[in-house]
């Protein structure tokens, strides 16, 4: 379950911000995850308490916004929805669809005090 190391990396980023911005407590951590990306939101939630315990993120609430998969179809010259990483274009069947959204693995925002 690599989500454990992803949450560890997340804590390191929050620690960076604390040094830069000077806050004593994190209330909410907002992530943006792509549905076709490398992280499983339920696994992130599952290990979040254990990994953040005793760190600056201890007690914070984890909010995850999921980003739908999208790609650019060069045939249709349109942005089309994708439900798997290498799906063909749902309109024209073209296999050459470039993933443009849905791969996100980002710390978007913190609510701190």
């Amino acid at each position: 379950m690599h989500e454990v190391s992803l949450v560890e990396s997340l804590v390191a980023l929050v620690e960076d911000e604390r040094r830069k911005q000077g806050f004593s407590r994190v209330r909410v951590i907002r992530l943006r995850l792509g549905v076709l990306g490398h992280a499983e939101p339920e696994a992130m939630r599952f290990c979040f308490d254990a990994v953040t315990s005793g760190t600056i993120a201890d007690g914070a609430r984890l909010e995850i916004e999921m980003v739908a998969g999208q790609g650019w179809c060069s045939g249709c010259r349109l942005t089309v929805p994708l439900d798997e990483r290498f799906a063909s274009c749902p309109i024209c069947g073209n296999a050459h669809v470039r993933l443009t959204a849905g791969d996100e693995l980002r710390l978007a925002e913190l609510e701190v005090e």
Binding site: M1, S9, V51, T52, D58, G59, L105, R106, E109, E113
Partner: protein, 262 residues
Amino acid sequence: MRYAAAAMGHDHRHPHAHHHREHAAQTIDFGAGTAGQHIVGLSQERVISIERNILSKNDALADANRKRLQANSVFALNLVSSPGSGKTALLVRTIDDLKGRYPIAVIEGDQQTSRDADRIRATGVRAVQVNTGKGCHLDAHMVGHALDYLPLETGSLLFIENVGNLVCPAAFDLGEAHKVVVLSVTEGEDKPLKYPDMFAAADLMLLNKSDLLPHLEFDLDVCFAAALRGKPADPDPDGIGPDRRRARIALRVDRRSRRREE
């Protein structure tokens, strides 16, 4: 190892539900309220926009590894696969074939034991074993430390054998030149469809245990088509086409079984 680091010295092998609330309560002794509660006007709440990739720390360390390797003209490959695909056996054979021509070093990743590093050292090349403990993959930080223990001779080859796992290592750049995915034919031709992230991350796929093909129902075309999904720009890098590629594999299988009979 990794849990201990995250928990700052706190033992994590206990049931979790209540202990963490205790932690939260301890933190709050120095703060202004109870966990999860918020009193408007009494705190300095603010929202900070961050927008950073969660893997940015790993990626920065991977870039440092890459620069260090490039500075010494070291060519590094990151070998990834399921457990039991034959990565170590393939590596041992590769080292035997190449050690006369290049200086070679190996980083072995496993959850426990130094069995693989021992197998590599038996070939006479330097190997560092990284035990990840609970971790399911190598990361750039571990590889950076492992590099400290290896003589990185100019022009040498570095093989990094990742933890056997077809999921997690896909997300972690280690600073390698290429990821190489090893697929053994007993795993089934649909592995690239089931684990697309890894096959997308890899630049090369090696089909291993191909001498077993005559005994299996393994469709090479289905396998190649699945592995090349998501790589439309270069569907036939050798420029030899599916028929010749099939013939080439058949020839290798034939040679190997003949060698075995002799």
